[in-house]
């Protein structure tokens, strides 16, 4: 953690002009360590893919968030095929289907007409990054054919598209929550740790009250406070606030612990002796020292926020219809008779698990990489 450990200098033992001293910055050392951590790299790769999916959701999704084909409710996943009764085709295609048994929700390819999967098709218009207008989608099939990679829900909405749009909420909630939690936690924990004594005692007792609640209980009751008649975006930000309200306490406790040990260091004494104000010492000299802890704690805290939001949305207290988040998409799977006929409704859950596993793997790898004690050579 010490700032003076800027790099290790592999000094040549004998005087040899050809050998260059290698100087590595802490970031390079961390990266070197992280590269050895295969699980962490895999986690990082999954995260990159997931976030790219979230960013380019409109382009990747064949349908829009609200697109619904009422005649195709609870449609099973349509996998593009290369082969049918008419023979083999290099270009994958799907068959058009119609509902033959509404009770068992059986769909059958009646006409046998092929609808070829086309790349970069024109579809519903959207804006890239909310600015550049476009209507190109990565793939699609000609009407009236449909391509539902992960099936549809009760109103015939494409689950795959909705998962892509939902990832925007599910994957960003943790980041937004961190943006709120980090400054509060740094200042609160910084002050408590720096002053110690009675200030510390009172501040920590207060944060302990928040920690004392079972997390989900607090999330649930707090979300009941939220106004119901607000738009999706407003509700999203309100939920961010709730998640942060629960998260700041634990985070500031960690910061307080670090600051408590840091303030005994000589450089803090030196800063005090040179007459800096307390706030300046905390903010400019102590807080920056906690940076690698913050990175790790945040990386490992985001999955908690994802789980919190998805749980909340799952029971109907978080993000609500018609918006999509991975949690509320899973709600339609909570009816067992429905689920038994349409098991693909569980797909959003797999995305939750994938994202959380990836964050945990990456976060643990990052912790090992940033903590010199965990480095292996």
């Amino acid at each position: 953690m010490a700032r003076e450990a800027v790099g290790t200098i592999e000094a040549p033992k004998t005087v040899d002009t050809s050998a260059r001293a290698e100087i590595r910055t802490p970031a390079q050392l961390a990266w070197r360590q992280l590269r050895k951590h295969r699980f962490a790299l895999a986690g990082g790769a999954v995260l990159v893919i997931l976030y790219l999916m979230a960013i380019f959701a409109e382009f990747l999704a064949p349908y829009s968030l609200d697109f619904a084909d009422r005649n195709k409710f609870f449609h099973p996943p349509i996998v593009p095929q290369f082969y049918d009764a008419q023979g083999f085709s290099l270009r994958p295609f799907v068959h058009e289907t119609t509902l033959v048994d509404p009770g068992l929700r059986r769909y059958e390819a009646t006409s046998g007409r092929r609808h070829y999967v086309r790349w970069f098709v024109r579809g519903e218009p959207y804006r890239i990054f909310g600015i550049i207008p476009s209507s190109v989608h990565l793939f699609g099939v000609d009407e009236p054919g449909r391509i539902f990679l992960l099936g549809t829900d009760q109103s015939g909405r494409d689950l795959f598209s909705r998962i892509l749009y939902g990832s925007r909420i599910s994957l960003t909630i943790g980041i937004y929550a961190s943006l709120v939690t980090i400054p509060i936690g740094l200042i609160y924990g910084g002050i408590a740790g720096f002053y110690g004594g009675r200030v510390d005692n009172v501040m920590m007792r207060m944060s302990e009250i928040i920690i004392a609640f079972p997390e989900f209980y607090l999330l649930l009751t707090l979300s009941a406070v939220l106004p119901t008649a607000v738009g999706c975006t407003t509700r999203f930000y309100l939920i961010v606030l709730i998640v942060s309200f629960i998260g700041w306490a634990g985070f500031s406790r960690i910061i307080r612990g670090i600051v408590l040990s840091l303030k005994e260091q000589e450089y803090v004494l030196a800063a005090k002796a040179s007459g800096l104000s307390d706030l300046r010492i905390i903010w400019r000299h102590i807080i920056p020292q906690t940076s690698s802890f913050v990175i790790v704690v945040v990386t490992l805290g985001i999955p908690g926020a994802i789980l919190g939001e998805s749980g909340l949305s799952f029971v109907g207290f978080g993000v609500r219809e018609p918006c999509a988040s991975w949690g509320n998409l899973l709600t339609s799977a909570s009816n067992l008779p429905t689920l038994s006929l349409s098991p693909w409704l569980m797909a959003p859950g797999l995305f939750i698990v994938a994202a959380v596993v990836a964050f945990n793997l990456f976060g643990d790898g990052l912790r090992d990489a940033l903590d010199p004690r965990h480095r292996t050579g």
Binding site: F39, R205, M206, E208, I209, I210, A212, F213, P214, E215, F216, Y217, L218, L220, T221, L222, A224, V225, P227, T228, P303, L307, S310, G311, F314, V315, F317, L330, A333, S334, L336, L339, S340, P343, M346, G349, I352, V353, V356, V357, N360, L361
Partner: protein, 321 residues
């Protein structure tokens, strides 16, 4: 030791007050109340609504309401449920025991399974067994209970091996005592498995990390170099020291388990305190929500206290007084 416990208990008092204040404020902040629905009901006269308001003390100023509630809560009377028309204590008592039962079972299973796995993987660090188990442990801690719960319910529905939700069958009342026991056990398997997986995954990781840390210590090297069998070194010397940090986790683990159980209970229709809280929140059943919040957090706080005491008992290096 006793003095330490007494001191900790005294410290709990301001904390409990804080917990009740926060709960009370949250509930007051939430828009609408149970009576709002009644007011819209044309059958219920305004006089009845006013009468109910007075009965429940809702016409009093907030601080009076709070103090009243607190005074009653101190005597374990948590008010009256609007929705069920029964005392909250009566309503919550059995639910609390159900949640506790589920928690204790899964916690016990988690410890019994996780410790041996943790030891096994720590002794074979970075082998394929260790890597596989670790990866699954990651999946275990990352799977939300409502998802694993749904998945198991789906399997149960397809195979018919396990009852779908609840804690008792319809014919429960007509079963002999051993039949009742078996029936409950049968119902407990699915939620128990979900929570145990969560617990095993978390604890196993901690045990592995903790044992690896201990195995690097000098005294382990000493034990090895004086020729002790590896089995003795690990089981007699290392494991006993590695378990200590886990006891602290016991307290935190309880929190995660309690929260994870809350949402699982709603998925599985398990009559526990978490499901009660959810239903009460939807119905704006003020005193039930309040009691569930307070009881949930008090359980957590006491769990932490027990963990602390156990740590003092098990680790002679830690002395509080």
């Amino acid at each position: 030791m006793l003095r330490h416990i007494a001191g900790r208990l005294l410290n709990l008092i301001p904390m409990l007050l804080g917990i009740t204040v926060v709960s009370f404020v949250i509930i007051q902040l939430s828009p609408g109340d149970f009576l709002a629905e009644m007011r819209l009901n044309p059958i219920v006269s305004q006089a009845t609504v006013d009468q109910m308001r007075a009965n429940f003390g809702l016409d009093q100023p907030l601080h009076i309401q709070y103090l009243r509630w607190l005074w009653n809560a101190a005597r374990l009377e948590f008010g009256y449920s609007f929705a069920f028309q029964v005392p909250v204590t009566w309503l919550i008592g059995s639910r609390f025991l159900n949640s506790l039962l589920l928690g204790v079972i899964s916690f016990t299973v988690a410890w019994l399974v996780a410790i041996p796995i943790g030891i096994y993987t720590a002794r074979r660090q970075y082998t394929w067994v260790d890597n596989t188990v670790s990866l699954w442990a990651y999946v275990g801690i990352s799977t939300p209970t409502f998802f694993s719960g749904l998945f198991l319910l789906y399997l149960a529905f397809k195979t018919g091996w396990f009852p779908i939700g609840g804690l008792t069958s319809i014919d429960y009342e007509f079963l002999p005592w051993w039949g009742k026991l078996l029936d409950k056990a049968h119902h407990l398997i699915l939620p128990g498995v979900v929570l145990s997986i969560l617990g095993v995954a978390g604890l196993m990781r901690q045990m592995r990390a903790s044992l690896l840390e201990v195995l690097r210590q000098d005294y382990v090297r000493t034990a090895r170099s004086k020729g002790l069998a590896e089995r003795v070194v690990v089981n007699r010397h290392a494991v006993r020291n590695a378990i200590n940090p886990l006891i602290t986790i016991f307290g935190f683990g309880l929190g995660g388990l309690w929260g994870g159980a809350a949402i699982l209970e709603t998925v599985m229709g398990y009559p526990g305190i978490g499901k009660l809280l959810l239903d009460a929140t939807i119905q704006k059943d003020l005193y039930v929500v309040m009691a569930a919040l307070v009881i949930g957090s008090v359980t957590l706080v006491i769990g932490n206290l027990i963990a602390d005491v156990m740590l003092v008992v098990s680790d002679p290096r830690i002395r509080y007084d």
